[in-house]
């Protein structure tokens, strides 16, 4: 079934309209050491609790969003446009 994600552009929409990319991480600087890039691409936290993720409103406004949610309760704390809130 569905739950509702409050898209900052479209209002509450069913989660089926969204595509989850994964953790919202800052992209390392171009001159960052390889180890930092390696960690950026391959290493992920897997927290039980609050987590910030990049979600795409692929079936709606097609904006990339940062969804702050709790992985245990599924509570969604905030949804903001990824362009506005760079991780």
């Amino acid at each position: 079934m569905a739950s509702l994600i409050p898209c900052p552009h479209c209002g509450p929409r069913p989660k089926e309209e969204f595509t989850v990319r994964g953790a919202a991480l800052p992209r390392p600087a171009p001159n960052a050491p390889v180890a930092e890039w390696q960690a950026h691409v391959y290493l992920r936290e897997n927290p039980r609790g609050d987590y910030a993720e990049h979600w795409h409103h692929s079936g709606g406004c097609r904006r990339w969003l940062v969804v702050n949610r709790n992985t245990a309760t599924h509570a969604v704390h905030s949804v903001t446009d990824a362009a506005g809130e760079r991780p």
Binding site: L4, P14, H40, V41, H54, R63
Partner: protein
């Protein structure tokens, strides 16, 4: 005939007869009957055989918790197994069949299992079918499956329609009994938008079994009809999900003899409720005594429901077996209707009794009977002749939905029941579901909870009913009763009896979750709605602990079974997924194209002509025609993305591994797009149509993926860049015109100079067509020939394609499909996603020079230099030709060194693409082979394990034709 219809009463339309059949027997009932009540009215108490022991069974309940009376109803495509007769509304012509019996319900050979029951106890399957392992799949499982007692699904197409829809409301009320009606009325009077759903065919819940409450019920329903309330009878709310979204299934036309094709038979609701009141009532517990499953024994509330709603008497002589006052009330009602109550057996305390029936204080020893009840033996006491028993073992609040999101039920000593917290975020529990009893108390509680729910969202309401006292006291679940031997059933549906649970506890499976899996208690369609509390009581006693300690198994959606039809909705058959047709589909069809499904697309694969007997013949002709003269191929399915903005060039420079910043206006460039880990994601050409306007093409299958990737980069990574993206895949019909005659043919269509000087290789710009429209022309080539791709607005595509075909007729232009395109590109050594398979970096494909060393940043730059990605022994793109031109090379074959054995260790790579080259007259292939770029000329063996072939072959350059690109630049 041991049950019968009373001459008056009930909520039936006696003026109409409804004919139906059961196991081929023609019977009749009235509108207002369920299948179960109509069968009882016809004296048909034997309705099913039990799952394991094939014991004769009748109904135990009058509602959705029914474990016994499972039937197959309907016919052909509408056949539905395991429906509960208690929930099926009677309709004209209904066909019902009993299940799990052979040769008939009356004479069932499987009943012999009952004699073997001492070998069929808890854990039987685990203990018996352990070995030999090979027997499991071939012997044990088929036998068990055949013996297991549920109905069979039909394999025919369901002719009916299903749909899905959303609802949004201030308050969702689940259950339309006293508490639910009061909640809905309170909220609706306050102006809230309300949805009231109830699984029954009539709204009213427990009030329907109480004729004294009917006038009030009528009044409430009449007022609700005038308010902002969506009334959903026949609607089961089956799950509570994140965001306070509830799932529900409405049986819109399941109760109709001839469902209208203009409406769905079932509708799946997703209800987004700001608040909800759970008013699902309580389930009466059966009592656990020997023979408690004989047809004729049911709960007291089921008895009352059949008596008052459908005017069906449970039998000629009914014994009432009760804990607490529930049975006393029923006894009084039955006597008032002139029905004989054989005895009122009270376990523990009860109110005073002035009725005719003898009041016996005792516990049941054993019920006696076979296919129908004959008597009840009181433990250490009298034998009471009776053909019906109404039993009441206290009540269990229906709290399933309140626990669907992780809340655990908590045992209440005061209520002698498991309760869920009455107040949760978004959900309040009211009435009997919160443990209350009595209609007046439930009306008051429902009104109060609705008021509280609305207050949470800032709405003020006045309770429609005031508080009222409860009318009964809580009764503890007693577990197994009496010392008499014989099966005391706890879970009717799975044939789990008290001794199974005691055995499970003795063998170490006393935990509620373990006992469920070991004994199957609480599994299958009813999920232990009746039996779980009694099971917990028995396990607690066996462990010497409390029910609270034992606990319950987890409640999960769905509350009751939901049909696949409802879940699938309209997504089936033709509508399962969309079909995408190219704007040139009709043009290709008119030329007799064979189509191939590529994802959602239908692509023209080849164009057979008269006399051609196989696809190869057509493809060979198309390929040779392109190489000799010219051909036209539909490439509209390629992804197309318009990119605008002052920073569009800088954006593409960061997206592609090769440089795009300095691409001149009017030029196209082939680009490689990497993933951040350095591997190639996609390739394609991007053209600069203006200073701030680019047009990108992507692989067909990655059109959506690349768009999403670009959007991520533009929005999340570099929002400071001025760039805008728009998908234009469906807006343009795009056709490749390839071959040495392509220029002279196109020149007849395009109103601009196409000479090599004016329109050189990789030129790209808008051009006027002689027909008056503007197109986009790109001098790019996938085939290796002199070639162009012409894009025109989709609606003009077919006309332009036809015009080019006419213009090229003198040269003998042909239409060619995706098969010929594949042969042409393999001959030229061009890669597709057969080669770009997620494991290759640019250097592997000989494209190392397309990785810019001067750009400070682009996606994929930073991990590309890792050790493993620069190893010279990595698999690299090569061509492969057989030494014997007659031998075919097949895609997927592996490459071995000459003389090497076909082992995993000796594997040197594999053939990614292969084709018969009509140009060369033999098979050719592309392959990814270890260190391949340095091994051109080496003889190897192409090993094809599937066809048991080992073909001597030679590694070559991957470019089989025109290695100097003279054709391209011609």
């Amino acid at each position: 005939m041991t049950s019968h219809r009373l001459p008056t009463g009930g909520r039936l339309d006696r003026s109409r007869r409804v004919e139906f059949s059961f196991d081929g027997k023609q019977l009749a009932g009235h509108p207002g009957d369920t299948l179960a009540s109509a069968l009882l009215a016809n004296g048909q108490r034997l309705m099913a055989r039990s799952f394991k022991y094939h014991r004769p069974r009748g109904v135990v309940t009058a509602g959705s918790a029914e474990p016994n009376a499972l039937m197959t109803i309907g016919r052909e495509g509408r056949t539905e197994p395991n429906t509960r007769a208690t929930m099926v509304e009677l309709y004209q012509g209904l066909e019902a069949h009993s299940q799990n019996r052979w040769p008939s319900l009356d004479h069932d050979i499987g009943a012999l299992n009952g004699l073997l029951s001492r070998f069929l106890g808890a854990g039987f399957y685990y203990k018996t079918f352990m070995w030999p392992a090979s027997f499991w799949e071939k012997v044990y499982e088929p036998i068990i499956r055949r013996a297991a007692g549920l109905g069979r699904a039909t394999t025919l197409q369901d002719p009916d329609r299903y749909e899905k829809t959303w609802a949004h409301c201030d308050l969702l009320v689940i259950g339309a009994g006293a508490a639910g009606l009061a909640a809905a009325l309170t909220a609706a009077r306050a102006g809230a938008s309300v949805v009231l759903a109830d699984e029954g065919m009539e709204l009213g819940g427990g009030l329907l079994s109480d004729p004294a409450a009917w006038p009030q019920l009528t009044e409430i329903l009449a007022e609700l009809a005038t308010l902002n309330v969506r009334l959903l009878p026949r609607t089961t709310v089956f799950g509570w999900y994140d965001g306070n979204v509830f799932g529900a299934v409405e049986r819109v036309q399941k109760h109709l003899a001839a469902p209208s094709p203009d409406a769905p038979v079932e509708r799946l609701w997703r209800i987004a409720a700001r608040q909800a009141v759970l008013a699902t009532g309580a389930e009466e517990r059966p009592q656990v005594f020997a023979g408690n499953d004989i047809p004729g024994i049911m709960t007291a509330s089921a008895t009352a429901s059949y008596l008052h709603r459908q005017a069906v008497a449970p039998g000629q002589r009914t014994t009432i077996l009760t804990q607490g006052p529930a049975g006393f009330a029923l006894a009084a009602q039955m006597e008032a209707l002139g029905l004989e109550v054989a005895a009122l057996v009270s376990l523990g305390d009860g109110p005073s009794w002035q009725g005719k029936a003898p009041l016996i204080r005792g516990i049941p020893g054993k019920a006696i009977g076979g296919k129908s009840l004959k008597a009840l033996q009181i433990e250490g006491g009298a034998r009471i002749e009776a053909d019906a028993i109404a039993m009441s073992g206290g009540f269990s609040p229906v709290i399933h939905l309140a626990c669907h999101r992780g809340t655990r039920p908590v045992w209440s000593d005061a209520r002698q029941a498991f309760l869920a917290p009455v107040e949760q975020e978004g959900l309040l529990i009211a009435g009997a579901a919160a443990g209350l009893s009595g209609h007046a108390a439930c009306l008051g509680d429902g009104a109060a909870r609705a008021t509280a729910a609305l207050a949470r969202i800032g709405l003020r309401a006045t309770p429609a009913f005031g508080p009222a006292p409860e009318d009964t006291i809580a009764q503890p679940p007693l577990g197994a009763l009496g010392k008499t031997k014989g099966k005391k059933f706890v879970d009717y549906q799975n044939d789990v009896h008290a001794r199974d649970l005691i055995l499970a506890a003795a063998e170490g499976y006393a935990d509620a979750e373990l006992a469920k899996r070991y004994t199957t208690s609480g599994m299958a369609t009813d999920q232990g709605k009746l039996g779980n509390i009694n099971a917990a009581a028995i396990l607690a006693k066996a462990r010497g602990t409390t029910i609270a300690e034992v606990g319950l198994t987890t409640f999960r959606p769905f509350y009751t079974p939901v049909s696949f039809g409802a879940l699938a909705g309209t997504s089936r058959g033709h509508d399962f997924q969309p079909v995408r047709r190219s704007p040139l589909h009709g043009w290709a069809e008119s030329l007799g194209a064979e189509f191939v499904e590529t994802g959602l697309w239908y692509r023209s694969a080849w164009f057979p002509r008269a006399g051609e007997t196989g696809w190869r013949q057509s493809v060979d002709r198309e390929v040779l025609t392109v190489r000799r003269a010219a051909g036209l191929c539909d490439v509209s399915t390629l992804g197309k993305i318009e990119i605008f903005g002052a920073d569009a060039a800088e954006f593409l420079n960061r997206i592609y591994s090769n440089g795009f910043a300095k691409l001149p206006v009017g030029r196209a460039r082939y680009g490689l797009m990497l993933r951040e880990d350095g591997f190639i994601y996609d390739d394609g050409t991007t053209s600069r149509l203006g200073e701030d306007h680019f047009y990108m093409t992507t692989t067909t299958a990655l059109a959506a993926g690349v768009m999403t990737h670009l959007e991520f980069c533009a929005q999340a990574l570099w929002p400071d860049l001025d760039v805008r993206l728009a998908s234009a895949t469906d807006q343009w019909a795009q056709m490749a015109v390839a071959g040495p005659m392509a220029r002279q043919i196109l020149q007849r269509i395009v109103d601009t100079d196409l000479s090599n000087e004016a329109f050189p290789f990789m030129a790209a710009r808008e051009v006027p067509l002689k027909c008056g429209i503007t197109g986009r022309l790109f001098r790019i080539s996938f085939s290796g020939e002199l070639a162009y791709e012409l894009a025109v607005p989709a609606g003009y595509g077919e006309a332009v394609a036809a015009a080019i075909m006419t213009a090229g007729a003198p040269e003998g232009i042909c239409a060619y499909g995706s098969e010929a395109l594949a042969v042409l590109r393999i001959e030229k050594g061009h890669v597709t996603h057969a080669e770009i398979n997620g494991t290759v970096v640019p250097a592997d494909l000989g494209m190392g020079k397309m990785v810019s060393t001067v750009k400070p940043d682009f996606i994929g730059k930073h991990l590309l230099d890792r050790e493993g990605l620069t190893d010279p022994a990595r698999p690299q793109l090569v061509g492969v030709v057989p030494l014997d031109p007659a031998m075919p090379l097949r895609t997927g074959s592996h490459v071995l060194a000459k003389g090497a054995e076909a082992t995993l260790e000796n594997d040197q790579g594999y053939l990614t693409s292969s084709a018969h080259s009509p140009h060369l007259g033999h098979s050719i292939a592309l392959a990814l082979v270890a260190g391949g770029s340095q091994r051109h000329g080496e003889e190897v063996v192409v090993w094809d394990g599937l066809n048991d072939a080992a073909i001597p072959a030679r590694l070559t350059s991957p470019v089989f034709i025109d290695p100097k690109n003279e054709k391209l630049h011609a």
